[in-house]
Amino acid sequence: MSWLSILALALQTAVGFQAAWYALAAVGLNLHFGYTGLSNFGQVGFLLVGAYGVGIAADQGWSIWVGFGLGIGAAVLLGLALGIPTLRLRGDYLAIVTIAAAEILRLVANARPSEPITGGSQGIGGLSKLGFYRPNFIPSGRYGIGNSFVFNSRQLWAMMWVWGLVILATLLVRALVRSPWGRVLLAIREDEDAATALGKNVVVYKLQSFVLGGTIGAVAGSFVVLYDGAVSPTRWIAPLTFALYTVVILGGAGTVWGPIVGAVVYWFILDVFDGVLNNMWFEVSNTQAGAIRLALMGIGLMLLMIYRPQGILGSKKEMLAGAR
């Protein structure tokens, strides 16, 4: 395998469906962490409820729209249920509660008694009957350049939807953070007491941010399983949240386009590592390569924090302002 094909393959991932849904979930997390200063370590929990929403709809023979509604409704409920008791407290509590809640959700979905609804450890298959690909107007075939940078029509269809939603969510966040509403979020991130002293009900704003960002995450989760055609409980683990944090910080926390840039760069780098490890350097099995690439990603993140803590799009001046 040549360097060129490794780069082409990495680029394929970086603009493909994988980066798209990471970007979408990261837009929500960026609203939490980047703009409101909420340490949500359970974003994966929101993705999970979005995924199971459409999964359960498929299983019960409901329409795809019911599935989205279920996922989004569950995300709103989850946001309120976690937010109302914890957002009154200091930031650390939210981190603990969210990481625990996401794990609980995954374990409950995975548990035997939940089988009739969530399919237990088997998950739910057959999501194709929801008809996500049915309106696909892109003729089947291979689109792209060369042998590596290619997409089939189903991939393009899914990419079109999710990248479209990424742009939509980004523009929504952009409009919000440039409004007086967004100014209150920033003030809460900087100093809650100051915002309170100026008459802002910080709990309400934090709750709105939390629910909105979580809902964006749930939509990302729904599309992941529509693309895969199946829901599996093993996918929704805590490291996914950490990967999303990497994306947000890499792109620049608290920047409008940061999650998109972060997701593209994250997947490009990860796949270049992958390609090099698997094909050029030495003979390693896939699981070993997977572990090594995550280790390298960790080193990369450390270097980023040392040399460019504001991320790719962040402003150094703003970062330094925060340090004082």
Binding site: S179, T196, G199, E318
Partner: protein, 280 residues
């Protein structure tokens, strides 16, 4: 010292009634375990004057202050602001009703510009509603009016040239000024200042004093916590002295300066009688 006709007839006694109180406090207590940090029987804060709250370290001034504006929960007692119940009210609601505070350690919002710090304080902004925020025409005019008002205030506090800088870049003194101007942006009726002169150089102290008196002259009521006796004697219309959680004296600055209870609280009990201290 301000020669204030409103309070000139009021006797200098603890718990004395004022002609037109904006804040009336009754039986407020706050305990930390066995320690009684605040235990104030009755206190009235007159409208339209500068009242300072003094006392030695650990007297409970800041705790009392935090209780009044809702940042700390009292164990008991009631107080009214503008005649309406204020105990048990959330701090942001009190702020909306016109009781706006500043902090001892300035809380400027570092990663926001000076102008955004000001705009945040604008009251009743329709653009702060999640859905209305998405429709700019709904709040654009109000925002524009707020920007003009913020710029006027910044000019008054000589911060206008810094409007687009991050607040974190400001010096300590400029932050004090920003916090005070931000409090004014919220259109308060009672401004609560927690040690506004702490850690400020003498030149800036003079400037801050000028701003505080200007607030009163514009009709606002000011309550501030302060250590510096010179400051208090210069600008206060009324002084309330606390020690060990209780109000031990109140009166015009001249009444307080010679009050033996105040001298004792500050300097300890005078055993010998050789020292004749007068606090200026």
């Amino acid at each position: 010292m301000q020669d204030d006709p409103v309070l000139s007839e009021v006797p200098a006694e603890v718990g004395v009634a004022k002609p037109d109180p904006i804040l009336v406090v009754d039986g407020v207590t706050r305990r930390y375990g066995g320690l009684v940090a605040v235990d104030v029987d009755h206190l009235e804060i007159q409208r339209g004057v500068i009242t300072s709250l003094i006392g030695p370290n650990g007297a409970g001034k800041t705790t009392f202050f935090n209780l009044l504006c809702g940042f700390d929960k009292a164990d008991g007692g009631i107080w009214t602001f503008e005649g309406d119940k204020a105990n048990g009210v959330k701090p942001h609601e009190l702020a909306r009703r016109g009781m706006v505070r500043t902090f001892q350690l300035t809380k400027t919002l570092g990663r926001m510009t000076v102008l955004d710090n000001m705009l945040l304080a604008g009251s009743a902004q329709s653009g702060e509603h999640l859905l209305k925020a998405l429709v700019k025409p709904l709040w654009k005019a109000q925002e524009q009016a707020n920007i003009e008002r913020a710029n006027d205030l910044l000019a008054r506090f000589k911060l206008d040239h810094l409007a687009n800088e991050y607040a974190a870049g400001l010096s300590g003194g400029q932050r004090k000024l920003l916090e005070m101007s931000r409090a004014l942006m919220a259109e308060p009726t009672l401004v609560m200042l927690d040690e506004p002169m702490a850690g400020v150089n003498p030149a800036l102290t003079q400037s801050l004093l000028g701003h505080v008196t200007a607030l009163r002259d514009e009709g606002m009521s000011v309550l501030f916590v302060e250590h510096d006796m010179d400051v208090i004697m210069t600008i206060s219309d009324w002084v309330v002295c606390m020690a060990e959680g209780r109000v031990i004296a109140e009166g015009r600055p001249a009444d307080i300066a010679g009050n033996p209870a105040v001298i004792e609280a500050y300097l300890g009990i005078d055993h010998g009688g050789a020292t004749k201290g007068v606090i200026k």
